[in-house]
Each structure stands twice: as C-alpha cells, then as structure tokens.
C-alpha cells in the first residue's frame, strides 16, 4: 500500500514552525512538498538553531532540519511581479498551498488569497496566521509568546501547588520549546487532509483560515466554557489541579502522580505498604482527600523521597496507578519504549552526519519510514521543480537566477 497522500502536490510559503510542521506532516504522509524560500535568505528557522556545538551556521539548524525533512526546496521571490507570475504557474500544478503571510504581508506581496481561490477552483489554501485573516488584530505583529499567551493557557502557565509555592510573583511562562506553534501546525494539517478528502467528492478546493489563537482555544475549551456558562474565572493562584498529586520529588529526581479515584488510592496505599498515616479517615473519600490535599501530597512526597523514580514508576504502574518519571529529552531518547517502537527515523545533516528525527506517531501502515530525506539546502531543487513542473528550459532558469527572481 502506498502512502495515503502520494500524488498530492503541496507548495509551502512559510517560515519558522507552524506552516513548515503542517507540510512536514503532509510530506510524511506521502505528498510531494515543495518549500518556497526567499532567494539568498531562506526560512528564518535556518538561523534560529539550536546548532551543533552552538556554532551558528545556516546550513545546520536543528529546527530547520527537523521541520523540513522529506521536502524539496526551491527559491522564488514571490513579492515581485516576475516571481508572482512564476508562482501563478506553480499554483496551476499544485493541489495545496500552505502560506503564513498575515494580511499586511499578503497585500505587500500583491497576493490576494480570495482571488487565488477564485482563479484555482480546486486548490486548497491553508492560511496560518497569529489571529486569523479578519478582525482588528489581523495585522498585529506576533511571535510565539504573543499567540501562546493570548490563548487559553498562557496566563495560567505555570499554576499548581509547586509553582504557587516557589514562584508566587513571577511572570507567566511559555509552554516549552515552540509548543503552541506546533499545535497550530497540526490543526492546519487536520484541516488540509479533510479538505483533500472532501475534494475527492466535490472537486472543489477551499480557503482555510487558521488563527493560531483560536486553534489553541478551541482545543482546550475547559476553562473557557466554564467561565462562559457561569462558573466564574480561574486565576492562576486559585487554580489547583483537578487531580491529586502532580509533580512530586523522589530520591533521584521528580515524578508525576495523577490520582482521581478510590480504587487508585487503595492501590497506592498498598504500593506504599500501608503506612499508618494513610489509614487516616480524612483520606477515605474523594472529597476528604481533596479537602486535605496539602497534607496528603506532602505525606506521599515524604514516602517518595526514599524511592527512586524507576522504582516508583514500575511499582505504581504495576498496580494501575497513573505515575511516571519526569523524563528529560536525553532520557526520552534513551527510552526503551520509544526505541522498541522505532520512533526515531534515521536522518542526515550536512556537516553533522546522522541525526535522530522524530517520526509522525502513526503506526502501521502509512507514513512510517525508517529514514528521512534530508531537508533541502536553499534552492537545492530549483532545476528539478522548474523543469519538471513548469517545463522551463535551463536557459530560462539561469536567467531567473541572474535577475534574482529565484
């Protein structure tokens, strides 16, 4: 069986994380993805790092390579008239356009998405912007903190027992890495695969308007629906986790416990060898445990301090209690579970050599491949794409290069 999206052609005009992650997913699913970068400069993520040995080198950014494996790369100055004409020809041959220009930049580049949709009736256009294509914030400049912190969780991160105790007065934090950005890219990918499927029957394309902020809000609606429907507002100080436990210290680090039900509490007691304190009737019911959670969590932590995280992990999981050690990325890479599932593909980078590249998490049958195609160098596939897609002779490609269009 061939990959699900073989034969689908995707053009990507995006930088950094969300758009490139969206089309990386499509590439892993078998689509032919052509990444269009501005000549000379390329995608910003080429400069963002992290870099091997912290040596800044636009050819070896891990961020760029992770997000752009399995793609082909060309250069094109889409904002100038000649380049715009070439883009028009490429769009004739494409099934999907993923673009992350906000309205202001679309206008500057003389790109009108509505018009492109009218001109190419079967084209699927996915627009990914911080706040959407319409509304008073549509042209706001925003990077990842701005969008994450205007979403459902930015204000509340961190909250919870430890954060409130240790950092009562500190600023809200991002989610780690480019997390919200990746999520927006995944949302875009879902919308694109649905549009491709739908086109099988309707023959029609679609213009998909993805606001990163809305994408985050619609996926984590818990606090928003509670507030909207009269349950009041949670502040990060009033907020405690809905479960007992959370981040807990142990002999050699941290682990996380998430405790909800009576049966889990009974099992946990047994794992701790039924200490005297656990027989306290205050802890006998869900309500009692919540009411006295401070004491309970402190006592569980005291027990955990004399055990290692691996010991706690295996002992509690055996008893069907939800507990897991907090793994650093190094430990994730060494994790037996991920290894046994061949989660990391074999990738290669210029001047670096072999690197592990996280695969899409689908298990059989589509997409899983043991090796990734190296991310393209700037303009690497100009000859191939301009010739194969558009039939340009070598002389024309040379003259476009000379005039800086590609």
């Amino acid at each position: 069986m061939g990959p699900a999206f073989q034969g689908i052609r995707v053009l990507e005009i995006c930088s950094m994380v969300p758009g490139p992650f969206c089309s990386r997913i499509l590439a892993d699913l078998g689509a032919e993805v052509v990444k269009i970068e501005p000549p000379q400069v390329g995608d910003e993520s080429r400069y963002a790092g992290p870099f091997p040995g912290d040596q800044e080198d636009a050819s070896s950014s891990f961020l760029f390579h992770y997000l752009n494996v399995n793609k082909l790369g060309i250069t094109l100055e889409v904002a100038q008239p000649e380049g715009r004409a070439v883009l028009g020809e490429l769009l004739q041959k494409a099934d999907v356009l993923v673009i992350d220009f906000p309205p202001r930049d679309l206008k500057k580049a003389n790109l009108d998405l509505q018009q492109i949709a009218r001109d190419h009736a079967s084209l699927i256009i996915a627009s990914i912007t911080p706040f959407g294509l319409t509304g008073p914030h549509a042209d706001y400049n925003a990077y990842y903190l701005n969008t994450y912190h205007s979403g459902p969780d930015g204000y509340l991160n961190p909250s919870g027992r430890l954060a409130n105790k240790l950092y009562p007065d500190r600023e809200p934090l991002r989610a780690g890495g480019y997390y919200g950005e990746y999520q927006a890219g995944a949302v875009a990918a879902v919308s694109v695969v649905a549009a491709i499927y739908s086109r099988n029957f309707s023959g029609k394309g679609a213009l998909l308007d993805i606001s990163k902020q809305e994408a985050l809000m619609s996926l984590d609606p818990g606090d928003i629906v509670q507030y909207a429907n009269g349950s009041g507002m949670r502040t990060r100080f009033g907020r405690i986790a809905l479960y007992l436990g959370g981040l807990t210290e142990c002999r050699d680090g941290f682990w996380v416990l998430q405790l909800h039900f009576d049966r889990q509490w009974e099992a946990l007691k047994k794992c701790m060898e039924n200490p005297q304190w656990a027989q306290d009737p205050r802890f006998d019911t869900v309500e009692g445990r919540h009411q006295h959670r401070g004491d309970l969590e402190r006592l569980i932590e005291e027990w955990a301090r004399s055990h290692t995280k691996q010991d706690i992990y295996h002992r509690l999981q055996q008893a069907e209690v939800s507990a897991v050690p907090v793994l650093t990325p190094t430990e994730v890479l060494a994790d037996e579970q991920l290894k046994s599932r061949e989660f990391f593909m074999d990738g290669a980078m210029p001047s670096v050599g072999r690197v592990p590249v996280a695969s899409l998490p689908f298990r059989p049958p589509f997409s899983h491949s043991p090796a990734a195609r190296q991310a393209p160098s700037l303009g690497q596939h100009n000859g191939r794409i301009y010739q194969a897609w558009l039939g340009y002779p070598e002389s024309k490609i040379k003259s476009l290069e000379a005039s800086g269009v590609i």
Binding site: M1, F5, F21, L29, G53, F62, G135, P136, H137, Y140, N141, A142, Y143, L145, N146, D153, G154, L156, P158, S159, Y167, R170, E171, L173, A175, G177, Q183, A189, V190, S191, S202, A206, L208, E214, S218, L219, D220, G222, V225, A228, N229, M233, V256, Q258, H260, H290, S322, V324, P325, L327, T328, P329, V332, Q337, L338, S340, P356, F362, R363, P364
Partner: protein, 411 residues
C-alpha cells in the same frame, strides 16, 4: 449543507477528553458520530464528581449527567446511545452498528475492545472498508504498553514537562492545559481522515494506532536533536529566546495583568525605544545589539517592566503594535470575551441545550470557506438517540428494541 465528511458514520467509544475530541472534530466536519455510552460507567466528563469535588453541589436533581459544559464542548454535534456491553446482546448490537459504519475510534487501554471481540481483525472481516483508530498512552506494543496515564503523565514522559520553568529555577511541574490529550486527538483525527482518503483510492480500510507520548514528542523534535547531538540537558529556559530580546512576559498595571513582548529586529528595537521615550538607559552600549541585549536580559527585563507596570496590557499592546512591535495582552478567560477581535471573528457559538438553556461553546479550530464546520446540534443527552440508532440504522424491530430496553441491554 454538504460538509467535508458528510455521509461518513463514526462509532465513538471515547471518554474524558482525548477520545471525544476526535469524534467532535469529525462531527464538526459533517460525519454522523455516535457516542457509545453506558449508564453504569459514565464518561467522567459528564460527572461533577469524582474529578471535581466542589462542583457537585448545585448540579444534581437527577439530571446531572447532562449539565457539564466541559462535556458539551467536546461532544457537540454527536448522537448518544446507551448499551450494556457486558451482555452478549449489547456486544451484538454494537457489532451490527460497526458493520454499518465507516470509522471506529477509541481511547481505551490496549486490549479492552479485543476482550469484547471488537478487535480490528474481527471487525474488518465483517467490514473490510472499516477504518479504526486507537490512541493508548505508550502505544499498543513495547514494554510500557499497559501504562496507566492521564495528560500530566504524558507530559512528563514526552520530555515536555522538563522544559517548563524559570531560567534560574527548577521545572515547575505542571503543564497548563491537557496538551497530551489534545495533540493525540489531532493526530488521530488526521490519521482517520488520511485513512479515509486511502480507502477512497484503494477500497480498503485500515487500523491506525498512535501513542499519545509519541504524538507529544513530535512537537519537541529540535530539542531532542539538540540534546542528542550536543550531549547536554538544558533544563528550563524560562521565556528566553536566543534570537529575540526583549523577549518576555512583563507585569502591567492592575491585578495580575501581563503583556508579552517580543523584539526580533533592530528596527523593532528602535521603534520600541521611541515609544518609551528614548530613555538614556537604552543608549547604553550593552543594549545596542540583539546578542548583548540577550546577555543583559535581566536588567533589560527590569527596565521594560518599569515602563509596562504603570500601563494596562491593552495600552502597551496598542502603543507597540502601532509601530510594528510584537506585543499582546496575556489573556485570561474574561479577556477572551471582552476582546474586540474575538467579538469581530465570532469565535464562539451559542447552542440551545434542553437541560441548561442557551449555552456558549467554543467554535471550530479553523474556518473553511466552502465546507464550514459547524455546531449544529447540542451535545446529546445520555442515551438520547437510542431508538433512532438501534431501530433506524441497525434495523431492530420495534418489538425487539422494546425487549432489549426491558432486559436493560439498552439502558
């Protein structure tokens, strides 16, 4: 209106968040999604308890399974049936329904459906076009396949949790938001639609499995490559970004009010300085390049805070955005409802729910020009569509249906 997945039928065994969100996205796109429920083992999201101790008080009067807004948000547009799968008749009914469906989705632990004879090979024998998806925490194979887990456990195991914390402190230990669930749901949804397309081309269904931990780890790819190749554990980075300075969340006037400001270019830095009145400190050589601003970020952040702390986040946002500097209010839920942008976009939808009246639900994560996803139906009451599903879709006679209700197979 014809929608992207109109004409597809989905049997949704999901509970809590990760599973039901898959069905909700498919239903938003037009699929007929039938939620399989049981009155004896309710979906936890229908309950005020035991998950939230305090929220049970006003909820009861015998109808509380139908009152929780959080449940309504992730079960919008679905149908609900109640069936006792511990009885052979109950399993037979569900099998008959799956035979007439396109997709089965679930977030059970490995083996649960198999013990009921609802494993993919058995189901596919009856319905080779069936697409089925499972989303166990650690996957269906490997030494940890039976791991018991919820969202925070997934965050701990994926590596995400270890990256969240202040630069000068330890990790803070709670990932705000159930991202483990959400990311898994997105991945499963795209897998299901991709498999439907594959079926359209080949005529054959397939089984898809995704591990929630792996789905989350795919969003940390560059960090993992960094750790692997540079052999180091960086630990929490706060809001620091080596490519932007200033780059942080700054205190504003008011009670726990904040603004996020990110400066990527020298042009933006100069524009910011101008807005704050070109103070003398900004002329210090230490603040003239991105690198040196980053190196001196502690002092820089203090200076920026001095300016923001006497202004509202909205004022800071407006002043800085007017000159092209990325700034945005750190929004709490109240802000989401008062913000003019949201009003303009019409993000939320109001849905009439028979038990609670008109209810606000969040909209769809993307706008589709030609086949818009819509909230067309309130989240189902428990067992609301038993008769429709078991008689009209599965084809039970009225008498047989009544018999199964009497026997508490349908209950």
């Amino acid at each position: 209106m014809q929608q992207a997945l109109s004409g597809s039928r989905v049997v949704d065994f999901g509970t809590a968040l990760a599973g039901p969100l898959v069905g909700a996205l498919l239903a938003d796109m037009g699929a007929e999604v039938i939620k399989i429920e049981s009155k004896t083992r309710l979906d936890g999201f229908r309950m005020g308890r035991p998950i939230i101790g305090q929220d049970t008080a006003g909820g009861d009067e015998g109808k509380w399974p139908d009152l929780m807004p959080g449940f309504h948000a992730v079960n919008r547009n679905k149908l609900s049936v109640t069936v006792d799968m511990k009885t052979p008749d109950g399993v037979r009914l569900v099998k008959a329904l799956i035979k007439k469906s396109d997709v089965v989705t679930n977030n059970y632990a490995p083996g649960v459906l198999g013990r009921l004879g609802l494993d993919y090979p058995s189901l596919a024998k009856e319905n080779p076009r069936l697409v089925m998806a499972s989303m166990p925490a650690a996957g269906l194979t490997g030494p940890l396949r039976d791991m018991v887990s919820y969202a925070s456990v997934v965050a701990a195991a994926s590596g995400l949790m270890s990256m969240i914390g202040y630069e000068d402190g330890e990790m803070v230990g709670q990932v705000q938001g159930p991202w483990g669930d959400v990311v898994a749901s997105l991945t499963v949804t795209m897998g299901i639609v991709a498999a439907l397309r594959h079926r359209h081309v080949t005529g054959r269904g397939q089984f898809i499995e995704i591990a929630q931990i792996e789905a989350q780890t795919t969003m940390l790819g560059e960090a993992l490559m960094d750790y692997q190749m540079n052999k180091r554990v960086r630990g929490p980075q706060g809001n620091y970004d080596p490519n932007m300075a200033p780059h942080n969340v700054y205190r504003c006037a008011g009670d726990d009010r904040w603004v996020a400001v990110e400066v990527a270019t020298e042009e933006q830095w100069k524009a910011l300085c101008k807005v704050i009145g070109d103070p003398d400190w900004a002329k210090d050589p230490r603040f003239q390049t991105l690198r040196s601003r980053g190196e001196n970020r502690k002092e820089l952040d203090q200076r920026i805070s001095d300016w923001t702390s006497s202004r509202s986040p909205e004022e800071v946002t407006e002043l800085l955005q007017a000159v092209g500097v990325a700034a945005m209010t750190v929004m709490n839920v109240e802000d989401h409802f008062t913000n003019p942008h949201f009003q303009h976009r019409g993000f939320g939808v109001e849905v009439e729910q028979p038990m609670v009246g008109v209810e606000w639900l969040p909209g769809f994560p993307w706008r589709m020009s030609k086949t818009p996803g819509q909230v067309q139906r309130h989240a189902p009451l428990l067992g609301e569509h038993n008769e429709y599903v078991w008689c009209s879709i599965v084809g039970l006679s009225k008498e047989e249906y009544e018999r199964l209700v009497q026997a508490e197979v349908v209950k």
